[in-house]
Assembly symmetry: C2
């Protein structure tokens, strides 16, 4: 039996990290956008004499140490009395480490697919397992709950799904442009002096958007956050300024990756494509906002 | 500009009412099912010299007293400085008062459509307005938050969306059969001696489903709840027993309406249709579970 789960990629626009010894209470507040591109997770289970878990990223098997979050989730989600082979295949539309929430998506999709398979845990219970290991192994703080609820989201209370609270804002007529340009170590940023500025600016940005819950306000707050914290600088800032010339709303930086994003109207697409060609940026995505829950289903489609 | 919102019908399987002076903290715990049939809400706004709100049910204008929940929601959701005509058209797939959450759906759809139109409130803010007036005018206690999250749901913490917590269980291969047979006054039941039994049995049922979160357990718990509370009796119970002969899972009673529901597998549909014909029951629905959020969009379709 093959189960497929889809979890959207998640871009964080601004955030305040919230640490706690209890990983279910740790998380972040802030805002972000879920995308129609993301991570597809396929899970197969086969009874057998021994219990083995195999995880593959983009078709390549990965060792436990390099997929510790998903391995931990799988171990927790598979019933203790199950014996046999479990394969978890994760396919990512965005590169790992660029700020698109891949580790959270893999963890959440693995948890949901296994919960669907065994029918022993609820949606919230499964997603709390994903959140817990994301936090413990520092994959991220707020991606799991953001991806769980979808849409253009405001995380107004930190924590795992069922504990934290996610709100959504209404929007229409926008697609999302994303430019994955490189990696940033989340850990290095969170351990640095920038953290105090991030907390101040993150809170201020969230308050602004809650006061006027519109995407226009969100994008302005996101850009202000990325510049005031000093995270958006150098070449990345130069590209952002070029993009802005074609767009009604400011572009901003993906937290935390060397990546940019912007909201686009239909009539801005051709112009921005030409600009990206001028900038010799070949790798970019234009996609819709994903406004639903992650999907989980028995997969009747073709082979992997 | 025409906005359309769709909010699923919601069947409560079992529940524990939770009263509180603060309507945002009042609600219910329990379980239920959201359906692909429900309420479509169309909203038009037109600027003008005077502020007027018009609400219609199934194409017929209704007076303020007969649609007090939706009128109150609309008044709260329309910005104070707006002047002009607002029309709210609500179309119900199920009859009012039969236990399908129509008043909550109308209130929630009105709130979401107006929030989409004016872009001054978030999803949670809008749905809290709907929940508040549902509770204040005794339309219901848990329908708004159940409809807000969709699926086969467990309400594990009472309250409005953003305060209460809704979980979901995984299922596959089931459709929902519903038989709307008549009205029951929710108020009369909640004011009667049955309330203590409802509290005991509702808590017990929820614990059982949280322990083994499967639809099979849910339907058995629902049926036990409906019989042990004495709510499912007489002719309604006789029909339920007839339905059970064709089905793997027990049928149960919709809380609170003189209505029945059951989960159906594909291979049970023909048999149950024949049985319903034998019972001379002509009004029934077979539909899918609605697993998403309510939809809200600018409506480009034909005329109303």
């Amino acid at each position: 039996m093959l189960i497929r789960a889809f979890v959207p990629a998640h871009i964080t626009a601004f955030f305040v990290p919230v640490f706690n010894e209890n990983p279910l209470l740790a998380g972040s507040i802030g805002a972000g956008i879920n995308l129609e591109k993301g991570t597809n997770i396929f899970v197969t289970t086969e009874n057998g004499p021994e219990r083995h878990i195999h995880i593959a990223f983009n078709g390549e098997p990965v060792e436990r140490n390099n997929a510790i979050i998903s391995y931990s989730v799988a171990e927790k989600m598979i019933p203790k009395d199950f014996s046999g082979e479990i394969e978890v295949w994760q396919y990512f539309d965005f590169p790992n480490g660029y700020g698109f929430g891949n580790s959270a998506a893999g963890a959440l999709g693995t948890a949901l697919a296994l919960a669907f398979n065994f029918k022993e845990k609820t949606f919230l219970q499964a997603s709390q397992v994903a959140h817990k290991y994301e936090v413990l192994y520092k994959g991220g703080l707020g991606d799991v709950i953001a991806q769980f609820y979808g849409g253009i989201e405001l995380r107004i209370k930190p924590g795992a799904p069922g504990i934290g609270v996610v709100d959504n804002i209404f929007f229409e007529g926008y697609k999302v442009l994303t430019l994955p340009l490189g990696r940033i170590s989340t850990k290095e940023v969170l351990d640095s002096d920038v953290i105090k500025l991030i907390e101040e600016e993150g809170k201020r940005s969230l308050e602004e958007v809650l006061k006027y819950p519109r995407v226009e306000v969100l994008m302005k707050a996101a850009r202000a956050f990325s510049e005031r914290t000093g995270l958006l600088t150098g070449e990345l800032l130069e590209i952002a300024i070029e993009l802005d010339k074609d767009l009604r709303l400011p572009s901003s930086m993906v937290m935390l990756g060397k990546s940019l994003f912007a909201l686009l109207r239909e009539d801005e697409i051709e112009k921005i494509k030409a600009t990206l060609t001028d900038l010799t940026i070949e790798r970019y995505h234009i996609c819709e906002v994903y406004t639903q829950r992650p999907s989980v289903e028995r997969w009747m489609g073709g082979s992997l």
